[in-house]
Symmetry: C2
Subunit: 237 residues, 2 copies
Amino acid sequence: MTRGAIHNVSNGAFALPTGAKSTPSPESPVHERVYQALRERILYGGFQPGRPVTLRGLADSLGVSPMPVREAVRRLIAVRALELHDNRRVSVPAMTARKFDEIVFARLALEPELAVRALPRMGEAEIGQIERIDDQIEVSMQSGDPEGYMRYNHAFHSAIYGRAGSETLGALVDSIWLQFGPFMRTVYGRVGTSSLEDQHQRAITAIRQRDADRFKQAIAEDIMQGMRFIGESAFQR
Amino acid sequence: MTRGAIHNVSNGAFALPTGAKSTPSPESPVHERVYQALRERILYGGFQPGRPVTLRGLADSLGVSPMPVREAVRRLIAVRALELHDNRRVSVPAMTARKFDEIVFARLALEPELAVRALPRMGEAEIGQIERIDDQIEVSMQSGDPEGYMRYNHAFHSAIYGRAGSETLGALVDSIWLQFGPFMRTVYGRVGTSSLEDQHQRAITAIRQRDADRFKQAIAEDIMQGMRFIGESAFQR
DNA sequence: AAGTTCATTTTGTGATCACATTATGCGAGC
DNA sequence: GCTCGCATAATGTGATCACAAAATGAACTT
């Protein structure tokens, strides 16, 4: 009656412990590797909102047959990273002010808690890791590299939340990030990354002081500041 | 450049307005109907946690070919309603104390807010509807019908949250409900439904008074009370 | 010029097949 | 009685084909 251990322990990085590889091993199914590839393209701004997506098109661009692409796309639709229209066509969802507001609410409701739950397991090794990531964020911001900024910003949060070992909450947050990735990239493409502020220092010192309240607050403010910047740039309230 | 309207507006009922049909129309794809069928079985306790699930087995039991089942199962795995093991086999996930705690947190973080957002759009028609649903909950509880109780309890919350028109938050909540459905059914099968209390009256009167704070509080307490009952029955803390 | 019709192409969906991997059941051996 | 080894069955994965529905683009009409 022995069942195998859980393989697909998450749909994304937030539920994985820091050391785990997000890149699927070569022996993993093709649809899994396709999923990870598409996931990264969505997360780091490789897709434009509203852009139509076809199974055969993706299959050709990835050098695989349409079958595993079909499965990966079905997964991405399920977590709302892609959108299925009633003409059965698939596209990258467009952002709306309403959806954006829901995303901000959900991020604030879940991510600070995830950070607090991760705090007891953030040792010196993990702190050093996120400091190195933060250096890369600075580099990307100043060199005006939106995709690099998005990649390292995600890596920063991922490295923290992953330590919480909270797979269920992590999966929810993962779905949310997939939903604002393409939009975020569009905004940065329009206004640049040079006016961004790095809010992560306060979080890092809070970790060092093992101050849960301050850590939670720092993450919340990082989210609010970042999302306000994006929201104001796009919806000019 | 006209794209079709959004079809699969949600993966579940929480994102749908009250009047919308959750049963897919006959012209919808087979994989969609299979998804809805499996979704209901999970949500209302038709599956036992830990139970292995096979594509061909489901296909036979549903009278369809394995192909659309494969797609529906892939979706359910993506929202963590099913679990993919590293031996590539699929099963209904087992509950753990840790996962249960995360689910309670997420429910309390998201569902009361969804209720508040729905309040302005809850008219007399909607109130009457949830009162009728609540009557069915009472009947199911007293007649000791766990599946009926679960169905109507879900319908109650669904009728409220659906009015919020918050598809993004609704999808997150939907995923959460799918994750504790089978476990809930197991507990009720062991301890029965007769000792449950109906906490919904306070919510209904709060709606009538258009009191957002009380409404939010009533939903939060309904969640806490219900989940505490389940948690204590299963994990005997 | 702008809209319309119609033939062609593209696309998602479902069925079916082949195959590698894993589970299962049975028998032999200690 | 219990464990190990092996033959058999079952399962997920991927490829390929057929088909209906929808998009596309060119020719034609107004």
